[in-house]
Symmetry: C2
Subunit: 377 residues, 2 copies
Amino acid sequence: MKRTLAAHEVVPLALGAAVLGTGGGGDPYVGQLTLQREIERNGLPTIIDLADLDDDALVVPVAMGGAPVVGLEKLLSEPFADASLRRLERYMGRSADAVMPLEIGGINSLLPFVTSSRTGIPVVDADGMGRAFPTLDKTTFSILGLSASPVVTSNEHGDGAIIHCATNLKAELVSRAVLVELGAACSSTLFPMSGADARRTAIPGTVSLALSVGNAILAARARGDDPVSEIIAELARFDASIHARVLYGGKVIDVQRSFAGGFNSGHGRLRGTDGWRGEAEFSFQNEYSRIASDGELLAVVPDLIAFLDADTADPVTCETLRYSQRVRVLGISCSPILRSVAGLGACGPAAFGLGDAYRPIEVLSGLALQRAPRGAT
Amino acid sequence: MKRTLAAHEVVPLALGAAVLGTGGGGDPYVGQLTLQREIERNGLPTIIDLADLDDDALVVPVAMGGAPVVGLEKLLSEPFADASLRRLERYMGRSADAVMPLEIGGINSLLPFVTSSRTGIPVVDADGMGRAFPTLDKTTFSILGLSASPVVTSNEHGDGAIIHCATNLKAELVSRAVLVELGAACSSTLFPMSGADARRTAIPGTVSLALSVGNAILAARARGDDPVSEIIAELARFDASIHARVLYGGKVIDVQRSFAGGFNSGHGRLRGTDGWRGEAEFSFQNEYSRIASDGELLAVVPDLIAFLDADTADPVTCETLRYSQRVRVLGISCSPILRSVAGLGACGPAAFGLGDAYRPIEVLSGLALQRAPRGAT
């Protein structure tokens, strides 16, 4: 069934997607403003379920690639958002039947809706990560055997490239090299696939999930309840197999960043507040990838690690995190596909240069419980 | 008129092209072996004059891009040589009517003939530099306003990209980033153009010129004459406006190299032999770009600086130049297009990070004459 995204759903969608985006995917506020402007100009975007795609439909994941910090300074200009989709359609000699978020997180959850508003092409209620990740090989599409090629990438000056590679890892390297040269903030299409392949490989319902999480936060704020508890409750309501828990609460006492290779990478430390003991150290590569406290692992990729403002539960992106911010860190279990052998090979700790063996967050938080203040989880 | 390149012309073509290639374009011996093998398998390549192209013919410059030193270790595999041409043809939806060397120098003078032997498509007797240069903006095509896009580049694994950029400088940056990721030795097509544009922008007759220079060297060797003098005489016979002169003779006493960014860059020094006084210092970026002696400029880009073995006149490429080699350095005036304001902007000393003001070699060698040994020029 095709439905429209209502104008009042933009804010909760951006908010919920930013929680699931675990610090990456660009500033959700930028995406929200862009989408609101496009809706005013072109009308409401539409959403379609995976189940309603024709087997031979052309489904095109779209994303903005590059260092999110650059995206902050280069708002999505109008023709830029669908430049790569149009380039792909010309190249393939056929029109896209649907677009799909590559990932759930920040601008990249909203970009497909910008495209939908501008073109009338519906957005599939699904994505390839169930979260945000920095590289295209870290997708259920890639893990389940789809080719990312042709990867099409375009900047706001009309520059662009169509990339074909034998492996997705090579496609990632080549497209990243291209987007660094194109200004480090590009609209891209990748993994163009059939409706049948979309059903086989995408994580279903993640757009709806983001919307539910965003609505839960807004409702809790309106009622004066704790938004973080409401997020946890909403995740469980949406899918009982999702495990979510507060991992730590504290004040940012150190952040180190580098932008080498088009990534926003770094690490930092929190000092416990509100009863949380000791310190926690965290790492990120576009998204938060690891958190430990006094040497004890609390969560690690591919599980989700969301930094939320301690009072408002506003998601804090890796590029805006700053000294003295007070945050609560929410851990959420990832899609089972990412926990498969192939999934952990692509998205596990080693893929991020981390030395930890992967342990599911529900196992780790059982240990961590003993360290948490009463009532924290 | 279309004619064939005879099998016995491969050696002189490779030799002459390497002289005009001024140290760049890859090892001519590698190209020669590849072309000889392809001729045995597929038959003789054909050559066509600029004048015989239809106005609306599709003319496709082809080149191998990357660091020449990598090319030495990755011989051209069969499907690799025309992978980019085939990719371009599929993309444009039409067949190429002719290929053309992007530059005269080493492998890049021979690659179009490999393609011609394999495909039956003739090679235009012309090129876009009249020499070799490291980047695509340093071509008469670019200087006279043609777009390099789409640039198509492919490696031996089937990976490749089709790049469209608004400016040729951006196309160069993006395609170089791609080819570094693709293994630093790629077959490429660029500046696909009409026959009319080829006539307007290409330097005519440079394939024939390379062949004449190569034949002159071989003939001089057979007769026991000095090959370098014969090169100079042949250049003047071919085109009376070409100025050529021995700039220096000496032994290599230092070479410093780096391979940053996919270039083979460096500098070194010669100590004078055979009556040449003092020392000479030289620079290269894929090709020799500058030579001076005891602070006095002898030649600088875009004029041609060829390092030749002191005895055999075999061209010495930048990547094979080594300590204790004895060389004679031949200077040759470049195409007038490269000496225009736009030409010097693209190919002059500043474009290579050199501080010199450009002065034509015929002016400089007038000064240098006073320092040369009797009979050297």
